[in-house]
């Protein structure tokens, strides 16, 4: 599975296959476990069952029970023991069955993992990954986008891919990173998104955003599943002659300030699109960076489009009203360019 050049970015000379977002995550785990015996996977039902979403399917067959560990229902122990194992030189990848349950180990992550290097120089190279996001009728406890819970805790890194290519490359980068990385995978994308992914080894470096669509009239800054919402909106806007640039953050901590500021400087209008609830979401941090560092470029208010300020509702009509939609983005973008 692995092998070939270690130099990203891949070129078209590489062997490419169109695979799903989910398969890309699985490949990254296979590759990294094959290449580095220090990498192991732990979590609930990740072994024989292959995980609630089958992300780790086949892993235990290949690498055995010692490296693909089914744990008790104990998120604190999963992350805590991963920290300990990482101290001993291992590279644990923890699965949180639904990312919502990361709330149960919030302390272990923010207080133990995040501060360890700063306090005593003891790095914690762990990855904590799990399915986030709504749109699948998951209800209040299986739909969260938790990035803003962790945004005020230096010492943690956070990523969320929007493509299969990034899903693989970011996970590889996260596993090789020497700091704790929270890797959020959007469950809506698992099987809906497919794209070309090289067989060869590559990484998508942490901290780098990607322009998904060039434009000059406004910038939509987003990530995860909302990238696709933004791209659909951009297509509709294009028909009206509005050229939206779509910036996919990919990394949420650290943020790619250069890419953000460069795009704002170019378009002077910003729409922040994120799937978490509006108030207290990552859009705040983005707005603050822009309002502080790109103020003179701004020709319009910074607009946030996000989910409603409520728990995530279960019924499809409620969830549809709750989530950001292409229509909301198009409408917002029109207002922005008309400002």
């Amino acid at each position: 599975m692995s092998g070939g050049s270690k130099d990203p970015p891949y070129t078209s000379a590489f062997i490419m296959a169109v695979i799903t977002y989910l398969e890309a995550i699985r490949q990254a785990l296979f590759d990294e476990m094959s290449a580095d015996e220090r990498v192991f996977v732990m979590g609930e039902d990740v072994g024989a069952y292959g995980g609630a979403f089958k992300v780790t399917e086949g892993l235990q067959d290949k690498f055995g029970e010692a490296r693909v560990i089914d744990t008790p229902i104990s998120e604190i122990a999963i992350v805590g023991s991963a920290i300990g194992a990482s101290y001993m030189g291992m590279r644990p990848v923890c699965e949180i069955q639904f990312i919502d349950f990361i709330a149960c180990c919030f302390d272990m992550l923010t207080n133990f993992a995040a501060t360890s290097r700063y306090r005593n120089g003891a790095g914690v190279p762990i990855v904590v990954r799990g399915p986030c996001g709504g749109g699948v009728g998951g209800g209040p406890f299986h739909s969260l986008n938790p990035e803003s819970f962790f945004l005020n805790t230096p010492g943690l890194k956070m990523v969320e891919p929007s493509t299969a290519y990034d899903a693989k490359g970011l996970l590889k980068a996260a596993i090789r990173d020497d700091d704790p990385v929270l890797y959020f995978e959007h469950k809506f994308l698992y099987r809906r998104i497919k794209d070309e992914v090289p067989d060869e080894d590559y990484i998508v470096p942490l901290g780098k955003a990607a322009v998904r669509c060039e434009g000059s009239d406004l910038t939509i800054i987003t990530f995860g599943a909302m990238v696709h919402t933004a791209l659909d909106a951009a297509k509709q806007l294009e028909a009206d002659g509005v050229h939206a640039e779509v910036l996919d953050l990919r990394s949420l901590a650290p943020l790619d300030r250069e890419a953000i500021l460069a795009s704002v400087a170019k378009t002077s209008r910003v729409l922040l699109l994120y799937e978490a609830r509006r108030t207290g979401g990552i859009g705040g941090e983005l707005a603050a960076i822009i309002a502080e560092e790109a103020f003179e470029y701004l020709d319009a208010p910074i607009m946030r489009i996000a989910s409603e300020d409520a728990p995530v509702p279960y019924a499809p009509p409620l969830e549809a009203a709750f989530l950001p939609t292409v229509d909301k983005v198009v409408e917002g973008a029109r207002k922005l360019v008309e400002y």
Binding site: E44, D45, G47, A48, Y49, A52, D70, T71, P72, I73, S74, E75, I76, A77, F98, D100, F101, A103, C104, G137, G138, G139, P140, F141, H142, E308, D309, A310, P311, P313, Y314, A315, P316, P317, L318, A320, A321, F322
Partner: protein, 379 residues
């Protein structure tokens, strides 16, 4: 006093104090059978709705566990508090939740207790303090969280001079959570009237209990807290009732929390999407032979409590009832999207449909009774 007749309910009342089930009247035994059958039939209907894509999200069966769920809840008084899990359909039926409430929830109807906002049996019933109704607090998905909340309910009720025993169910897997530990220990220290039903159904999702805990008996989870515990054959409904009843009354008498360990088996996958390939066929076969409903039926027949004719009648009654309720719920409206942000905070509440509670066909109409009503006939 030790003699125990299997012939009729009245004689049967001369009983072993360790076997409170000896005191159950015929109507009560039939009622337990009815609730168990009803739980199964409600779930069978849910399967149909699930296949019709009318259930939003996952469907979790309690096949094989309906008996323990009913028998534990049956040990409660009507005013007690229950904190069931997804697999405690039997407890909900026993406490009198009208089946339509379940269908509404699973189909995310606007008429449901959560108005389509929350899943499956995540329902809540807060009766006025002076009514003769149970407190019902469904779980949130985060396993274990119900335990400290259950402790708080029983503690709070005691503080309000309106005491209730709280009964909370928990899976083998969920006993590994920090929330379980903190709640159990807190309840023990505060001598809270909490009865925890710990269900060893052999798996937590795909994880066998051997990878969940290094003890053999789930009831030993109570040892670290100084909490009284006992393990029972979970598919023997009267045995379950006996232990549960003693524990409920012990908790009520001020002896602090109790834990009943249930030895049972989850007879299907974790949810409908899970084919449970990881479960050995032999294990399933072994437990199929121990189906709690079939076993209980046999007891009723052996003890001449009822014959096939009466029991078939109950079966049909339950099945028809479940079907009717499902049909009614199917046509109800989905929630209005305009309400999506309503009721996050107080002052903006919009009407929450109260859970409708119903009496079983066996219930004696007598509110003041401490034990279950006993006089109505079934056939």
């Amino acid at each position: 006093m030790t003699g125990k007749s299997t012939l009729n309910a009245d004689e049967w009342r001369v009983a072993d104090p360790d076997r409170p089930s000896d005191l159950l009247a015929r109507e009560q035994l039939l009622e337990m059978y009815y609730f168990t059958r009803l739980a199964r039939e409600v779930e069978e209907r849910l399967v149909i709705l699930f296949r019709q894509s009318k259930v939003i999200g996952g469907l979790y069966r309690s096949l094989g566990q309906e008996g323990e769920s009913v028998a534990t809840a049956y040990a409660l008084q009507r005013r007690d508090a229950v904190l069931p899990l997804i697999r405690n359909m039997g407890a909900l039926m026993t406490m009198g939740v009208r089946p339509i409430e379940i269908f509404r929830q699973y189909m995310a109807k606007g008429t449901s207790n959560s108005r389509g906002r929350d899943l499956n049996i995540h329902i809540v019933h807060m009766p006025a303090p002076d009514t003769h109704e149970p407190v019902i607090v469904g779980p949130i998905s985060m396993l274990g969280d119900s335990i400290p909340v259950a402790a708080g309910i029983a503690m709070g009720a005691r503080m309000r001079n309106n005491p209730r025993v709280a009964m909370a169910w928990i899976g083998d897997g969920a006993t590994s959570t920090g929330a379980f530990h903190e709640g159990m220990n807190f309840a023990a220290v505060q001598k809270i009237p909490l009865v925890v039903v710990a269900e060893d159904n052999k798996y937590a999702y795909s994880t066998p209990i051997s990878q969940q805990m290094a003890i053999k008996r789930i009831d030993e989870r109570a040892e670290s807290y100084g909490i009284a515990h006992e393990l029972v054959d979970g598919n023997d409904m009267l045995a379950v009732y006996d232990v549960a009843k003693r524990m409920v009354e012990s908790a009520r008498a001020g002896h602090g929390p109790q834990l009943i360990g249930i030895d049972t088996m989850r007879m299907q996958g974790h949810a409908q999407h899970d084919d449970a390939r990881y479960v050995p066929k032999t294990l399933l076969d072994e437990w199929t032979a121990k189906d709690p409903l079939r076993r209980f039926r046999q007891v009723l027949i052996e003890r001449s409590i009822a014959g096939d004719r009466e029991l078939d009648y109950i079966d049909k009654m339950a099945k028809d009832y479940a079907a009717r309720e499902a049909d009614l719920a199917v046509d109800e409206p989905m929630p209005d999207p305009a309400t999506v942000t309503r009721g996050v905070y107080a002052g903006d509440d919009y009407a929450v449909p109260r859970i409708e509670l119903v009496k079983s066909p066996f219930a004696r109409v007598s509110a003041g009774l401490k034990t279950r009503p006993t006089q109505e006939e079934v056939s």
